[in-house]
């Protein structure tokens, strides 16, 4: 089992003829994802390998069932592309671009809510249900099936952790990248709720970082609604306050979102927190072992 996507999910790629779009189209197909169509205005009728390209999402949807779309377009055109997908009725939208203006992101989330579209990202690596369907830009080899659900605000850090899990023989059910921007479609809570109901997920790893209050809110939610074991990894223990560290998210301001505060909130609800990536597989193994006994 898995959440958001599975072996039947039919995927559209917006911006498929660009460098990133074409490269990751192939990577996704190689992973086993059912990429059924691509969109690139003015390139309708072309093909990327075997994938037919259309001029518009609407046109693509007239010819294919589309369950999800992934967007590879420059940030300044992302709002147009996202609106196009939502307007055409795409129900799951993965926004890869980073540097999308915040007001565009708010407009996208607002329109998506009105039309009932789930948005993952922007500035995300995507979502992958291991062994079934990858919609995103993560390296294929680390995403092997297993009982660990991972939800994260950071891309490469997730690969690091999922990779170390895989190296320890621990596969993943679904891995979700929330996106590193300040306004994103999903938060920890949305994904925790899904993992709780997913029979394929036995333990949940939450990959967080300093800044914002998402981890604190997650802790609150976990204490009320999550019965499965949850572990966390937090980045930013060594970061000096007041400096914005790359991610819009990774900034400590106004006394909120400090490393210490997050650890405290998570520990208080029984969530162990790793501060080094190699600790994660150990913690997961321990939990699974305990469950098995």
């Amino acid at each position: 089992m898995s959440i958001f996507v599975d072996e039947n999910t039919k995927v559209l790629i917006q911006g498929i003829t660009g460098n990133q779009g074409a490269f990751h189209a192939r990577q996704m197909v190689a992973y086993g994802t059912k990429v059924v169509a691509g969109v690139s205005p003015g390139k309708g009728g072309q093909k990327v390998d075997d994938i037919p390209v259309y001029n518009s999402v609407k046109e693509a949807m007239e010819h294919h069932q589309i369950d999800a779309s992934i967007l590879f377009v420059p940030a300044k055109f992302a709002k147009d592309g996202a609106f196009e997908a939502i307007h055409a009725g795409v129900k799951l939208l993965i926004l890869i671009p980073e540097h999308i203006p915040l007001h565009d992101a708010m407009a996208i989330m607002n329109f998506a809510r009105a039309k009932g579209t789930t948005v993952i990202g922007p500035n995300t690596f995507g979502v992958v249900s291991s062994g079934k369907c990858k919609i995103g830009i993560m390296p294929n080899q680390y995403f092997v099936p297993g009982p660990v659900g991972v939800v994260s605000r950071s891309g490469t850090l997730s690969y690091e952790i999922v990779g170390s899990l895989a190296a320890a023989g621990l596969g993943t059910s679904t891995v979700v990248g929330l996106g590193g921007d300040r306004v994103v479609g999903l938060n920890f809570i949305d994904v925790l709720a899904r993992f709780e109901k997913d029979p394929g997920t036995e333990v949940i790893v939450l990959v967080g970082e300093i800044g914002g209050t998402a981890e604190e809110e997650a802790a609150d939610y976990i204490s009320k609604h999550i019965s499965k074991p949850v572990l966390a990894y937090l980045a930013g223990k060594s970061a000096p306050p007041g400096k914005r560290m790359g991610h819009a998210g990774a900034i400590i301001e106004r006394g909120m979102g400090t490393f210490e505060g997050k650890v405290k909130a998570l520990n208080a609800v029984g969530v162990e927190v790793a501060t080094l990536t190699f600790e994660v597989p150990e913690l997961v193994s321990k939990v699974l072992l305990k469950k098995a006994m």
């Binding site: 540097h99 490469t156 914002g212 970061a239 000096p240 006394g255 190699f278």
Partner: protein, 370 residues
């Protein structure tokens, strides 16, 4: 991008939000002349930081002579770590009441939020929660009259003040949206003889939207290295340690810093080379790291969008062209990993598999290189 108070007030004026009479001065003479025009004046140092008053950055005078003297003292001085290049000279308002009004973005609700309080003039964090009116703005309908009325009614403002604040809210929201702002804050919003006036202006523009905000002044608050990194599209922050760091992705970069610290080391910088940085950008990023003269360098790449061979090529190219005078530890896994390692081997470097091994080695090398 933060902008200066005087710029914020110029924008307020453009959007019809009342501000005190006055304007910016860059010389003592200008300051004196403006004071002569407006009489009782306040001279405010223009720096990208609050709490200027306590730091001596704000002066009061009605004398053009004294204004020149104050301006001469302030201009060129350093306040709270910022050099003062300009002062704002404006009328000293008779202040009857101080309110707080701001619009910012609520991450959780994914929409703009109005924060308002009748307790203004201090940091909003210091105002008790129950004295702050918080109101989310539905992005599809914007700042409708019913919302402004709701806000002023919750603030319990007298009718004649309410009408003015309602109007200011509409204008402030328009500005917030049109200028791609992350924050527009008026603190204090003062009541002066029945008129409501923005006595301060804090405006932050979304960096990612600057491409379409061509009419805005550009304000630089970065160091030279940070500026260069910004031009390259990289996230770069200068830190106090002695190990140069380059990684791809903000999270993994932070994790690298954490891991260095765990092994007793300390980073000279934060540099996120980004997800899809090209060979050229990567090479330039390396130059940035080297410019800080670190005792050792750690490069930590987990390739996704970034391809290991690109990074390896960039590194090899810099190493050949300018030489790298400090020990370098590279951790390289992910997309095209074998190709990348092969390239590194050609320049005499054996890449590590894991972050912690690489970090431990880097800490050792830096210590040995003291």
């Amino acid at each position: 991008m933060k902008i200066y108070e005087y710029m914020g007030k110029e924008l307020f004026a453009k959007y019809g939000i009342p501000v005190p009479k006055g304007r910016v001065a860059r010389t003592p003479e200008e300051a004196g002349q403006i004071t002569a025009e407006i009489g009782d004046a306040v001279i405010k140092s223009q720096i990208l930081s609050g709490k200027r008053g306590k730091a001596g950055g704000i002066k009061f005078t009605a004398s053009p002579h004294e204004a020149r003297k104050f301006a001469a003292e302030l201009l060129g001085s350093e306040i709270r770590g910022f050099k003062v290049d300009a002062v704002l000279v404006e009328e000293k308002l008779k202040i009857d009441k101080e309110y707080y009004l701001a619009i910012t973005i609520d991450r959780g609700a994914k929409c703009p939020v109005v924060l308002a309080s009748v307790q203004g003039g201090m940091d909003i964090e210091e105002v008790p929660e129950e004295h702050i009116v918080k109101y989310h703005v539905d992005y599809s309908i914007g700042m409708m009259p019913f919302k402004t009325k709701y806000i002023t009614s919750k603030l319990k403002l007298p009718a004649e003040e309410a009408a003015q604040v309602q109007e200011i809210l509409v204008k402030l929201y328009k500005m917030f949206v049109e200028l791609d702002a992350e924050l527009v804050e008026i603190n204090p919003l003062v009541v002066s003889a029945g008129k409501i006036i923005a006595a301060d202006a804090k405006v932050i523009i979304d960096d990612d939207a600057l491409f379409r905000q061509k009419d805005l002044p550009y304000v630089e608050e970065k160091t030279e290295s940070e500026k260069k990194a910004h031009e390259l599209g990289l996230a770069f922050v200068e830190l106090e340690g002695n190990i140069g760091v380059m990684a791809n992705g903000a999270g993994i970069t932070m994790a690298t810093l954490d891991t260095l610290q765990y092994f007793g080391g300390s980073a000279a910088n934060f540099l996120d080379a980004g997800g899809g940085a090209s060979e050229e950008a990567t090479a330039k990023a390396l130059e940035l790291v080297l410019a800080k003269n670190p005792k050792a360098i750690i490069i930590n790449i987990f390739g996704g969008i970034t391809r290991c061979d690109d990074v390896a090529n960039a590194f090899a190219s810099v190493k050949k062209k300018r030489g790298i005078p400090v020990p370098v530890v590279i951790r390289l896994v992910g997309t095209n990993q074998e190709k990348g390692r092969e390239i590194l081997r050609e320049v005499g470097i054996e890449a590590y598999d894991t972050m912690h091994e690489a970090a431990q080695k880097a800490v050792e090398l830096a210590a040995a290189n003291q």
